[in-house]
């Protein structure tokens, strides 16, 4: 049998390359209507009156009055209405759907909706804390007394997922069953949300995944909102309806990466870091949604890849009258790793110590306590990875050469990890993943709710099962999840799919293997937390994650002397992901994640002015094109995790995390100035250079 990491052709190549794969916009049931969203034109206030134009025959308004169940979208924190009834808390908040057969008529009708508002003063400052967390390690605050203190502030801004396929669903009634087909990451999140909004029984709601044209977290919780809206419309109108966003609408109203501010303070003893305090703020936007969970992942990562004995960590989610923020690959970690990587570097420079020496001294070792007093149980390969990184990138020599004043070149390196799977007890208490395998004659069908959104789930899961059973991949079936067919194996998020769901599938497959002689049977497995993993959510104490993936990025840049444009010349990446289930798929993930991480650091600019997102299309919001990308070299390290299939840990998010700090550090060297915020745009570089 071949090593499982050896790459095979992806099972969906054929249909995707030939244009035959069906995305949600490609599915058109007979007699389908279109839905347009009526949105608030003010940032904050109350609706006093709405006047709809006279609707032609066959056109409908669907609003809060049509919701049979609760007017709340079920997310982790339930504070978002399906349709707002009265209160407007952010610009373009959804009020109603207009539904009908002709898009041109709908656009005219939507212009004829007259809403009278009572405007109120919106809030954009970060003062309304709606989630506050605090935890200590070691001596906590006391560790700071009488010590030398060094402190800096770091800032990150929005990032837009910019999946190329916008958000959308189509839906229809199948008898009494509300059926939605969507571009989604989490079929069961949508199902549970729709069940609550409709007040329906579980049996009467069915969610099916269409081929997904990219998601990156953007299709984690947002689809629950529009899925509920469409479901309400279906119940009222009982005809097939399409609700698909155009790019502008998608950019203006969907969730984005939380802007963050981090205030770090270090207590210094014997020229070393004795204690760290972090005060973290993230902008939740108008609803809390997943923001608390994003914040907790950020806080837990507060020490970066380093062990610091004494911690005093606190953070807040601030509510503002801006578009709600949410999940985006990395989920709080990219913000924190940017901040901590820069801070540790800046700290070393302040102390007059070579940053490399300073960092190596405190780098996490196997057996060290995590920030929450969990334990890094598995071997930590970072020293070996760092050594290789420096060797292949010729780091030290370049570091010296580029120090020349007028080089305008720089090389930067970041060290980072990602906690794999849900934070804390989420897997055990909330998700409780179930998987099912169906064996029939010489075939096995994988029944899970995991979504292939480009990351290769279909291929790697079929390969996993085929490999364990030593059968042909053609004998393993994996269809897009349909909640009528698959059990709830949890959402496709948090770098959990291969490690957690794949682990369960592998165990189920072992059982299938033992019973292979039987003609037909079903095997089910449910998640059991490794017994050594214990976590107290309230106190932030214990093992927040069962395993960690690790990474090193090295990036080389050149800054134009006159325009301050940044050009990335080359990158080198080193990842310990346990074991690659398919090497080429992992390399693809690694490249794509790094591209997003690098761009987060220097290219992608998104901001709001008085609650209005200023970048409303792909012309305003610049993501990398082929011209912006540099050659990327990637090295994978094997370091099997006992509960992952073949030792696999999380892959999806890791490669996004180190890009921004690596590029920021490289730019620092090129411009001989310290960087405190991302993206490091030419304007920001100019400001830094002007201010000396």
């Amino acid at each position: 049998m071949k090593d499982i990491s050896t790459s095979i052709n992806k099972v969906d190549n054929e249909e995707k390359i030939s244009g035959q794969a069906k995305y949600v916009a490609d599915i058109k049931p007979e007699g389908m209507l279109y839905a347009f969203t009526v949105r608030a034109k003010i940032v904050k206030g109350k609706i006093l009156n709405i006047e709809y134009p006279l609707l032609p025959e066959g056109y409908f308004v669907v609003d809060y009055r049509d919701i049979p169940g609760q007017n709340i979208v079920k997310v982790i924190f339930n504070d978002m209405p399906v349709f707002t009834e009265k209160e407007i808390t952010y610009l373009y908040e959804p009020i109603a759907l207009l539904v009908g057969p002709d898009k041109n008529v709908l656009s005219k009708l939507i212009e004829g909706v007259h809403i009278v508002y009572q405007e109120e003063e919106p809030l954009f400052d970060w003062i309304d804390s709606v989630v506050h967390y605090h935890f200590d390690k070691g001596e906590g605050k006391r560790a700071f007394s009488g010590k030398k203190i060094i402190e800096f502030n770091y800032e990150t801004s929005y990032q837009e997922q910019a999946y190329i396929e916008p958000q959308g669903f189509i839906g229809y009634m199948d008898g009494e069953k509300t059926t939605l087909i969507g571009s989604i990451q989490c079929p069961y999140y949508v199902k549970k949300a729709v069940v609550q909004a409709l007040g329906e029984s579980e049996d009467n709601v069915r969610i099916i995944q269409a081929t997904v044209g990219g998601a990156f977290g953007g299709k984690e919780e947002f689809p629950s909102l529009i899925g509920c809206q469409l479901a309400v419309a279906l119940k009222k109108i009982r005809k097939p309806i399409q609700l698909i966003y155009e790019r502008e609408e998608d950019m203006l109203v969907t969730t984005k990466r939380h802007p963050s501010r981090v205030h770090f303070k270090a207590a210094i003893k014997d020229n070393k870091i004795h204690a760290l305090s972090a005060d973290v703020g993230i902008d939740g936007g108008a609803n809390i949604g997943l923001s608390g969970v994003v914040l907790s992942r950020a806080l837990i990562a507060c020490t970066g890849a380093y062990t610091i004995e004494n911690l005093d960590i606190s953070g807040d989610v601030f509510r503002t009258n801006t578009v709600p923020n949410g999940a985006f690959r990395g989920f709080g970690a990219p913000q924190m790793f940017f901040a901590i990587e820069m801070f540790i570097e800046h700290l070393a420079l302040e102390l007059g110590v070579d940053p490399l020496v300073f960092k190596k001294d405190i780098l996490v070792k196997q057996g060290d306590y995590t920030s929450t007093m969990g334990i890094f149980r598995d071997p930590v390969l970072m020293p070996e990875m760092i050594c290789k990184a420096m060797e292949v990138s010729n780091y030290q020599e370049k570091r010296i050469n580029y120090d020349a004043l007028d080089s305008y070149k720089g090389i930067g390196m970041s060290w980072f990890f990602h906690g794999c799977g849900f934070t804390g007890s989420g897997e055990k208490n909330i998700i409780k993943a179930k998987v099912r395998l169906k064996k029939e004659f010489d075939k096995v069908e994988i029944l899970i709710a995991a979504v292939d959104m480009g990351q290769g789930v279909k291929t790697s899961f079929r390969k996993l099962v085929a490999n364990i059973l030593d059968i042909d991949i053609e004998q393993v079936i994996f269809n897009n999840p349909d909640t009528d067919a698959v059990p709830d194996s949890g959402p496709t998020v948090a770098s959990r799919t291969m490690m957690i769901v794949g682990g369960l599938v592998a165990r189920a497959t072992e059982e299938v293997k033992k019973r292979w002689a039987e003609e037909k049977f079903i095997v089910e497995k449910e998640y059991e937390q490794p017994s050594y993993i214990k976590y107290d959510e309230e106190k932030f104490k214990g093992d927040a994650y069962p395993a960690y993936s690790w990474g090193v990025n090295v990036v080389e840049v050149e800054v134009d002397k006159f325009t301050y444009q940044v050009k990335i010349n080359k990158s080198w990446s080193f990842y310990d992901i346990g074991k690659a289930i398919d090497e080429r798929i992992v390399i693809g993930q690694a490249d794509g994640g790094l591209a997003q991480g690098l761009a987060y650091g220097y290219l992608e600019v998104m901001n709001h002015k008085q609650g209005q997102i200023m970048q409303k299309n792909m012309t305003d919001y610049i993501i990398p094109t082929a011209m912006d990308m540099c050659p990327m070299e990637t090295y994978l390290y094997e370091n099997p995790y006992a509960y992952g299939p073949y030792g696999a840990k999380g892959v999806g998010e890791l490669s996004l995390i180190g890009g921004a700090p690596a590029v920021a550090k490289a730019i620092e060297q090129a411009i001989k100035r310290r960087v405190f915020k991302i993206p490091v745009t030419p304007e920001y570089i100019m400001e830094l250079i002007k201010n000396g």
Binding site: S7, N9, K10, D12, N13, E14, E15, K16, I17, S18, G19, Q20, A21, K22, Y23, A25, D26, Q161, A162, Y163, I164, E165, P166, T211, V212, G213, G214, A215, F216, E246, R247, M453, G454, Q455, G456, R584, I585, I587, G588, D591, G592, G593, L594, A595, Q596, N617, M618, T619, I623, P624, T625, A626, M627, M629, P631, M632
Partner: protein, 157 residues
């Protein structure tokens, strides 16, 4: 309304319709050719790319009036050719496909580039693909795919 004739995927077609309609809508709605995708609707992302007289265009920015008497080839038409087979195998071999939403447009961009320049350099490939956005791959494996196609299909273009 106007009578509009053009060649679509090797067949002459005629429509009586509004010449201001976007080619993308006509392809998707009137001919059920859903390979060209709408990603941005303003000519930035290239997911809607098709060939017009062998050159790449964004069908979302092309009014139907512009295609009168032209030859349009979508991914559905192109996928019946030998060149397609070479490009397809190259994308599969290098891992240039992830979510797949940009892929038909990328394939069209690859064909358009190789038509013009059968042996492009890395830099020329990057320029050739720069009108097509991909958010999944970071482009490197797609660039590899184009190189691989140029090599494997040597003589075809």
């Amino acid at each position: 309304m106007a009578k509009i004739k053009f060649k679509l995927n090797d067949k002459f077609v005629e429509l009586d319709t509004d010449p201001n309609r976007r080619l993308l809508d006509v392809l998707r709605d009137d001919f059920n050719l859903t390979g060209p995708k709408e990603g941005c609707g303003e000519g930035e992302c290239g997911a809607c790319a098709v060939l017009m007289d062998q050159k790449i265009i964004n069908s979302c920015c092309t009014p139907l009036a512009n295609v009168i008497d032209k030859e349009i080839i979508t991914i559905e038409g192109f996928s019946k050719t030998k060149k397609f087979e070479v490009i397809k195998d190259a994308y599969a071999k290098t891992g240039g496909v992830q979510c797949g939403f940009c892929t038909p447009g990328m394939i069209i961009a690859t064909e358009s580039l190789l038509n013009k320049n059968p042996h492009p350099t890395d830099f020329e490939i990057k320029i050739g693909l720069s009108g097509n956005l991909c958010r999944c791959t970071g482009y490197n494996l797609i660039i590899e795919a184009v190189k691989e196609a140029a090599k494997a299909g040597d003589g075809l273009w």
